[in-house]
C-alpha cells in the first residue's frame, strides 16, 4: 500500500500528524513504490512552490513524475501556483479519509510511473522528454491559463515548476514536441508577443500615421439629412442635446433625421486628420515599440499526448541528430567503435608507419537548439550532418555516445591534420548557426594521437569528466 509523504520544510520543523515526513534531499533514497504522493505544506506558499520546483526539476522519473499535493490554508495563493499541483487538500478538512482518498485518486499516475522500464534507476536529462512524460503520466489535456505573473501571459501550471525562470521555454518546448507529432495541439487563443523579449504584455495603441504620436482624439461624424450639414458630433452638441448648427433643428432619431457616417481622428500634436490610425504596440517589459505585424503572433494551444508521444514517453525520444548522422554517415555502435579502435591500434603498432587520431567532439546546449528550432530542427541537423560529411572521410569511423557526444577515429591522420579537420568542422558549424540562426552552440573538441599506450576508456572518460 502506497502512502503519502509529507515534505519537510527547509525553514521550519512543521510536520503533519499521521503522515510520513521526508526531507527534500532524501526523496531519491526511498522506494518509490511506497510513495503515493508528495504532500507540500503551503502555509508559506513561496516556500511550498520552491519545494515543488525542486521535485519537478529532479531528473529521476520516480521523483519528478510522482503526484504532488498541496496542503493549503487559504484561498489567496495565486491561481497558477495552486493549479501546478496534482491536487489540493485544505488543512481544515485534512484527515485520514481524505489522504487515503487521494491515494486512490493518484494511483493511475503511480501505476503509469511503475510501468516505465527505467523509472527507478533512470535519469531524464532532456527537458522535452520530461515534459512529454509528465503530460503522459497525467493523461489529461494540458490547458494554459492566463497570468500577469509571467511575461508570456500564459502558463501551463503543471509544467511551470519544471522550467523555473525560463518561462518562455515552456511554450517553445511544447511547440517542439508538437512539431515532432508527440503532442496534439488544440487551439485556445492567439496572442501577440514582443519579438524582442517575448512578453505578452503589449499595449496596442492608435497613433497618428503622420507623426506617430498617440496623442490623438476621435469623434463621430453626424450627417443631418434635412440640410446636408455634416460635421463632428461636438459641433452639434448643445448641452445634452444635438442641434444642427446650420438649420438649428434639434436632431431627434438616428436613422430618421440624421446618421453617423464615420469616425474621424485628429492628432493633437501635428493637427493631422485621418480615419485610419496607425496601430502600434509597446512592450510593457522591454519598452520596445513596433507595429503589430513586427511582433510575434502565436497560437496558444491546449495539448494532449499523441499515440507516438505515448510510445516515446515510455521508451525515450528518438535522438534526431543521431538518427540523421546515422543515416548520412553510418554511425557505428560504441561496441563496434571500440573494436575498430583496437584494430587500428594494432595496425599502427605492427607497421609503425601509420598515424591515426582519436577525435572527441561534444556539442553543448544542443537541447536549447531543439527548443529554439522546434519544427525546423530536422533541417538544421541535416545541414549539420552535411558539414560532418564534408570534413570526415569515408575511411573515418564515427560513433555517438549520445546526441551531443561523438567520437571519431580519423585513420591515417596525424593529430595536426586532425586538428585542421576539427577546425574546419568548428568553422562550418559556427558559420551555419551564426549566419542563419543567431545562435551559437558551444562545441568542444579534444584530439589524441592513437598509440598503444593510449587507453581509450580513460581518454573518453577524461574527456567526458573534464569537458563541462
Amino acid at each position: 500500500m502506497r502512502q503519502p509523504y509529507y515534505i519537510q520544510s527547509a525553514n521550519s520543523e512543521i510536520s503533519c500528524a499521521g503522515i510520513q515526513t521526508i526531507a527534500q534531499d532524501e526523496l531519491q533514497n526511498i522506494n518509490s513504490d511506497d510513495v503515493a504522493y508528495w504532500l507540500i505544506d503551503m502555509r508559506i506558499w513561496t516556500e511550498g512552490w520552491e519545494q515543488l520546483c525542486k521535485i519537478r526539476r529532479n531528473l529521476a522519473p520516480a521523483v519528478y513524475l510522482k503526484p504532488v499535493l498541496f496542503l493549503i490554508d487559504s484561498d489567496t495563493i495565486p491561481q497558477e501556483i495552486v493549479t501546478a499541483s496534482d491536487g489540493n487538500i485544505h488543512r481544515s478538512s485534512c484527515d485520514e479519509r481524505i489522504l487515503e482518498d487521494w491515494v486512490s485518486r493518484v494511483e493511475p499516475i503511480n501505476q503509469w510511473i511503475e510501468h516505465l522500464p527505467n523509472a527507478k534507476v533512470g535519469s531524464d536529462a532532456n527537458i522535452a522528454f520530461k515534459v512529454l512524460r509528465i503530460i503522459t503520466s497525467r493523461n489529461v489535456e494540458l490547458e494554459p491559463i492566463t497570468t500577469i505573473r509571467r511575461h508570456s501571459g500564459y502558463v501551463y501550471p503543471l509544467l511551470e515548476p519544471m522550467f523555473g525562470k525560463r518561462d518562455t521555454g515552456v511554450l517553445e518546448t511544447l511547440a517542439f514536441l508538437e512539431s515532432q507529432h508527440l503532442l496534439n495541439g488544440r487551439f485556445i487563443s492567439s496572442a501577440h508577443f514582443c519579438s524582442h523579449c517575448g512578453s505578452a504584455f503589449l499595449n496596442f495603441k492608435e497613433s497618428c500615421p503622420q507623426c506617430s504620436s498617440d496623442d490623438i482624439r476621435s469623434d463621430e461624424l453626424i450627417h443631418h439629412f434635412k440640410c446636408a450639414y455634416t460635421a463632428e458630433m461636438a459641433d452639434f452638441r448643445t448641452g445634452d442635446r444635438l442641434v444642427c448648427p446650420k438649420c438649428e433643428r434639434e436632431l431627434k432619431h438616428i436613422g430618421v433625421d440624421y446618421d453617423k457616417p464615420s469616425i474621424v481622428y485628429h492628432c493633437n500634436q501635428c493637427s493631422h486628420t485621418f480615419q485610419d490610425p496607425k496601430i502600434m504596440t509597446a512592450c510593457y517589459n522591454c519598452g520596445r515599440t513596433a507595429e503589430p505585424e513586427h511582433q510575434e503572433a502565436r497560437s496558444i494551444l491546449a495539448y494532449t499526448v499523441s499515440a507516438i508521444g505515448q510510445n516515446a514517453a515510455d521508451y525515450g525520444l528518438d535522438a534526431l541528430f543521431t538518427n540523421i548522422l546515422d543515416h548520412e554517415l553510418h554511425l557505428f555502435s560504441e561496441h563496434a567503435f571500440r573494436d575498430f579502435y583496437r584494430i587500428e591500434m594494432s595496425r599502427i603498432e605492427r607497421y609503425k608507419r601509420s598515424t591515426s587520431s582519436l577525435v572527441m567532439i561534444r556539442f553543448h546546449d544542443l537541447d536549447k537548439l531543439y527548443i529554439k528550432l522546434a519544427g525546423k530542427a530536422r533541417e538544421v541537423f541535416y545541414e549539420l550532418s552535411t558539414i560532418f560529411k564534408t570534413v570526415l572521410r569515408q575511411s573515418d569511423v564515427i560513433t555517438a555516445k549520445n546526441e551531443t557526444i561523438f567520437f571519431v577515429i580519423m585513420t591515417e591522420t596525424s593529430a595536426k591534420h586532425a586538428e585542421r579537420a576539427a577546425e574546419r568542422l568548428q568553422e562550418g558549424v559556427s558559420a551555419l548557426f551564426e549566419n542563419n540562426l543567431d545562435f551559437k552552440p558551444a562545441m568542444s573538441v579534444r584530439i589524441r594521437e592513437i598509440h598503444p599506450k593510449l587507453d581509450i576508456d580513460a581518454a573518453l572518460e577524461d574527456f567526458l569528466e573534464n569537458d563541462n
Partner: protein
Amino acid sequence: MIIEDLIKFITSLSPGQMVAYFWPFFLLDMTRYVFLDFIVIIFYVPRRILHRHKYQQARNLLYKERPLVSVIVPGKNEGKHIPKLADSLSKQTYKNFELVIVDDGSDDDTAVICRELEKQGKIDCFIRNEIRGGKASAANTAFRYSKGKYIVHLDADSHLALDSIETILLPFYMDNNIGAVGGDVRVANAEKDIVTRLQAIEYLKSISTGRTVSSEMGILRIIAGAHGAFRRDVLERLHGWDVGPGLDGDITLKIRKLGFRVVHEPMAICYTNVPEKFRILAKQRFRWDRSMIRFRVRKHRDILMPSANFSLTNFLASAENIFFNLVLDAKWWIYVVQMVIINPSLLGYIFLINFILYFLANVVEFIMACVLLHSSLRRKDYALAFFLPLIPIYTGLFLRTVRTYAYIMEFIHGASYYDKWNPWKVSRIAKEEKL
C-alpha cells in the same frame, strides 16, 4: 429641285414675312444667344487684353499672400479617376493647396486607392463615409476638414489645366466683393464618339461663352460643381451646400443673395469626362433640367418677388434662366402648331430653313468661342467645327425633348425627389420639407 424651290420660297418672303415665319429664331434665340453674346464678347475680348496688367497685379497679390487653397473632391465610386486628378494637381503652377477627398460610401475599391495615395502624400486628407449621404453631405464633410482660405470644388472625373488653380483665384484679388468664381469646364473625352463631340461644342457655347457673357452682364446663375472656387468665409456663412440635385446652382443663388458677386473665369480650365452614350446623357440632363424647376421656380422664387432684399441682377439671373429655358421651351410646341395651322405644306421648307438658320447661328457662336478662348484651344478643338451641322438636331430636338419631359415630370410628380442620386433617407426629408 428642292434647293431651287427652297431658294424660290425664301426670296418670295418679305422681311416681315421672314420674321413672322421664323420668329423664334429672329426674335428670341438669335437676339439672346447670337446678337447679345456678340455684343458682350466684342467688348470683353479687347477689355481683357487691355486689363492684362490688372490680372498681373492680381497674380502678384496672390503670390504675395500665398493663401492655402483646399481642393475638395466629394464622390462615390470615383477611385479610378483620383490618381489622374492627383497627378494633374501635383503639376499645378500654384503649389500651396491641399487635396481633400471624401468617399461617399463607395462600394468599389475607391477607399483602397485613396488610402494608398494618402500614404504617398498625394492626398492630404481622405475621409471615407461608410454610409452614403449624398453629394451635398460629402461636399460638406470635405469642407469641414478643409483648412484653406479658398475652396476649389472639383468633380473626381476631372483634371485641371496646369495654371487652373492660379487662374481661378485671380478674380478674388481683383474684386473683394466676389464670393465665388466659376471655372471653365471643357470636355476631356471629346474625341471618344459623336455624343462627346456634340457635348464638347455645347460646352464651348453654353459654358465657356455663355457663362462668360452672363458673368459680364452680372447675371451668372451657376458655378459648376465640376470646377468652382469659393471664399471660405462665404461658405461658412452658408454652412456649405444644401441637398441636391442641382446643389451647384443652388449655392450660387445663395451666394448672390448674400450680396456677393459671382463670376466666370474662362481661362481657368477644367477637363471633365462627359457621357458617351445618348441614353446616359439623357439621364444626366433629365436630372439637371429638373433642378431648374426645383430650385429656381420653387426654392428660390423669392428672388423674383419684390422684397426688402430685392436685387435686380439676382432677379435677372433667375428670370432669364426661367424665361429662356422654361417659358420658351413651350414656344417650340406653339410654333409647330402655328406652322401646321398656317400652311402644313410648307412644313418641310420651314424645317429646312430653321435648320440652316440655327446652323449659321451655331457657326457664329463657335467662332465667338474660338475668339474668346483662342489661347487655350487646341487644334482638335477647332476640328469640332465639322460637327456643327449636327448641333441644331442635338440641341433642337434631343436636348429639347429631354428638357420638356424633365419639366413636366418635375411639375407633376416632383420627380427629383425620387432620384437615386440622393439616398432615399435624404430625399424623403427633402420631399416632406418641400426643399
